[in-house]
Amino acid sequence: MHKHTMREPFLRISKRGSIALPHAWGIRVSSVILAMILGALFVVAVTGLNPLDVYASMYRGAFGTERNAWVTIREAMMLLCIGIGLAPAFKMKFWNIGAEGQVLVGAVCAAGLMIKIGAGLPNGLLLLLMAAAGMLGGAIWGIIPALFKAKWNSNETLFTLMMNYVAIQITSYCVALWENPRGSNKVGVINQMNKAGWFPKLFGQDYLLNVILVLLLAVFMFVYLKYSKQGFEIAVVGESTNTARYASIRISRVYMRTMALSGAICGLAGFIAVAGADYTISTSTADGRGFTAIIVAWLAKFNTFVMILISFLIVFLQRGASEIASDFNLNEEASNVITGIILFCIIGSEFFINYKTRLNRRKEDAK
């Protein structure tokens, strides 16, 4: 009698109007638990190790000793700093893939002053000069693609990406120029004896100044984006350039101003890497963080305080993964799979926060 089969869609998806905060966090926490279980299954299936040991080793790698913990904090601050730099650009929907290059150029400028001036100036003054130079370098690297976009509507994604390669070439040139000892093709630790241009210890901690600087920056960026007139213009341009034109916002100026700021903060991150972490310069000073920070900025939806959390999570995963690799003699790839699983679950949980899903219920009485 039924000519047509009575089929219903298997999964129904509908958008949530709003979601209570505890519910949202419940989903996020369960996604982490799910990730741990999936990761454990992977560990058992592929390596036959006890997953609890693996997770414990992960934790040890990130926070096991005081030294490990401080390195984790330092790395998280680096990532956070670049993420803060990217936030205004991405909020403006300006696809700045060039943080890597902006960080490197900032680092090169800072390192150059550090080598050339050395102990010739008081350390505080030298650090200020290095910071200014790093920011200027980063700002120039940021403003060039913005200028081309404003004038000729060039594609900023490709442009900023290409600028990375230019920055890498400049860096290797400078490394060759400043190499120490001669023939090593490395710069080596700069000013190891007099520590000129090094971040001073605060309360006996090497990296406390990094933390303070970056957290101040986080507060600044939060306020800037949320409450300033310029932040308002960034939000409007990001949402619709037509609305921006309608509101008489000069889009090309906003592009250039914002990219100068974005590049400057990335350049400052380069300065912090040189003066507050590595005390040297190489083509791997940025170490891919310019790209990882894109995830930080987007996942946090440009809220710099949420970015703190995400930076820590990502650095924890990275450092944990390399600890697993050395502890259990796995290759780095295997541990990357685990971090991949965890990231996938956390990012995927956002879907369940935005949408409600329901599996097909049993067919009700049709009458």
Binding site: H4, M6, S14, K229, V236, E239, S240, Y246
Partner: protein, 509 residues
């Protein structure tokens, strides 16, 4: 008698919003049914469930008496249900014939397909060239292709979502005669439209939805515009639009030889000249895309006019005219020109969808003061004032405006523009997509502005409204002024002709 389609107890919710609640609806074979309801009353949701885009939460659908489950648009096709959406689903670079057979597995050659298309056209009175590319077609031709596409695929039940919104009166008449031919042939047609006179003209029966609930149906022969409106709104509504006589009209805007080139270097506006007076509503009529957008944007400073164009603004308190050509919107307002503009693309140009009402009020005012930070206090007060004065339905003034319904979005936009205390107020398609109630609110607001001595420019598409609201009507055709007629003495036919037949020599040449 068996129904072509019957819906029983159909319910659909989106989150906490009930779009359709327990709706019962049927359509007979060989019947034209009008589905009437205000915005957000759930018409389109209901039809989307028939065409397989949504799946009902509850309830049952019967087609020719059989209970069916329509889980996908393909399932709807298989049942002979075809829907022509408001926004056409055609591939621009393909021909009519290619679009019509797109996705079908028939092995017919294009000759046979063309033949079959011509048969359908002859049968119902369509005119379609199967080999014409979509991008070369007018809106009305595209719509014809959409309808033929559904018939080609064997649709017995045809749903048309606001098909006349984009048509001239003459094109609408053509569509109606085709619909009558289809009815003759036993097809069932459901038409969604806001225009009551069309409902009365074309349909056999009217079904009314209000806030997702099925209110009831009446045979069209027993219905009047007044009775239908009351069913739709739930209370008596006055249906005539006021048109007070202009008091002491003074020239506010003088446009001379305004030419705007589009991105291809063609003339989107061609030597347009007219004056706008305070205390009057100047209507602008024309088929869509005839330069309306460029005209308003050029005056607002968003388009750069070509050499030789002149736009002058005459302030009320002095006779020193200021020139607007070459100025940005900011420079225009800094020059003391009180100009407000309600653009066609509300969320894409007039407002920022992701921001709340406060943020959207700030679009106009955020620069005020020397401080680095924005002042949120006065925009917030303005937002609250607009909410209470215009009865904006919103969860709160910080809720993103894109979450509001179309009518409320427009209230926010118009409210902000009027709050700027303009001397010239330009609106583009101010009531497009709005329901009767909100439309009348907007007409009322525009009349208020007119009485305050504002020069109102109203770009519209509904001729009946233009004829009832405007003091003078400027008709654009292919970027030229094809005539300026008196709103009180002109006729639908005269304006319709001016919209479609470009005079050889434009009257301002």
């Amino acid at each position: 008698m068996q129904y072509a389609v019957q819906l029983r107890g159909v319910t659909k919710t989106f989150g906490s919003v009930v779009a359709n609640n327990n709706v019962d609806l049927y359509i007979k074979e060989g019947e034209i049914l009008s589905l009437l309801g205000e915005n957000g009353s759930g018409k389109t949701t209901l039809m989307n469930m028939l065409s397989g885009i949504y799946f009902p939460d509850k309830g049952q659908i019967f087609v020719h008496g059989e209970p069916v489950s329509i889980a996908s648009p393909k399932a709807a096709f298989d049942l002979g249900i075809g829907m022509v959406h408001q926004h056409f689903k055609l591939v621009d670079v393909l021909t009519a014939a290619e679009n019509i057979v797109l996705g079908l597995k028939d092995k017919d050659g294009y000759k046979a397909i063309g033949q079959k298309i011509r048969e359908i056209c002859d049968k119902y009175g369509f005119v379609v060239n199967p080999d014409q590319k979509i991008y070369n077609m007018s809106v009305s031709q595209k719509q014809t292709v959409e309808i033929v596409k559904q018939l080609y695929r064997g649709a017995e039940i045809l749903i048309l979502d606001e098909p006349t919104a984009v048509l001239t009166p003459q094109e609408t008449q053509k569509l109606f005669s085709v619909m009558r031919n289809m009815r003759q042939d036993g097809k069932s047609i459901i038409i969604i439209t806001h225009k009551l006179h069309e409902v009365l003209e074309i349909s056999d029966r009217v079904a009314v939805l209000r806030k997702g609930e099925y209110i009831g149906d009446v045979p069209t022969s027993e219905a009047t515009a007044q009775s239908l409106t009351e069913m739709m709104v739930g209370r008596a509504v006055k249906l005539n639009i006021d048109r007070p006589e202009p008091v002491n009209p003074q020239k506010r805007l003088e446009v001379r030889n305004l030419t705007v080139l589009n991105s291809d270097g063609l003339r989107a506006l061609d030597e347009v000249s007219f004056d706008a007076y305070g205390g009057e509503i100047l209507g602008i009529a024309g088929i869509s895309g005839c330069g309306q957008k460029e005209l308003l944007e050029a005056i607002a400073g968003l388009q750069t006019p070509a050499m030789g164009s002149s736009i002058s603004y005459y302030p009320p308190d002095s006779d020193k005219a200021s020139n607007l050509v070459g100025k940005s919107p900011l420079e225009i307002s800094r020059a003391g020109v009180a100009l407000s503009f309600v653009p066609e693309d509300r969320l894409g140009m007039g407002l920022v969808g992701s921001m709340g009402m406060t943020g959207n009020m700030m679009l106009k005012s955020y620069r005020s003061g020397k401080a680095v930070f924005t002042d949120r206090k006065s925009p917030k007060e303005l937002a609250q004032r607009i909410v209470s004065q215009l009865e904006v339905v919103t969860p709160g003034i910080s809720a993103p405006v894109k979450q509001l319904s179309g009518g409320n979005v427009q209230k926010v936009l118009v409210g902000r523009e009027i709050a700027a205390d303009p001397k010239v107020l330009m609106t583009a398609y101010a009531v497009r997509g709005l329901d009767i109630n909100t439309s009348y609110t907007i007409y009322h607001l525009l009349n208020e502005q007119k009485k305050n001595g504002v020069a109102v420019i109203y770009v519209g598409e509904d001729l009946d409204v233009l004829l009832a609201l405007c003091d003078r009507i400027l008709v654009l055709c292919a970027g030229r002024v094809n005539g300026i007629v008196d709103g009180r003495s002109t006729t639908r036919e005269e304006v319709g002709l001016l919209m479609t037949n470009l005079k050889e020599v434009s009257p301002n040449a």
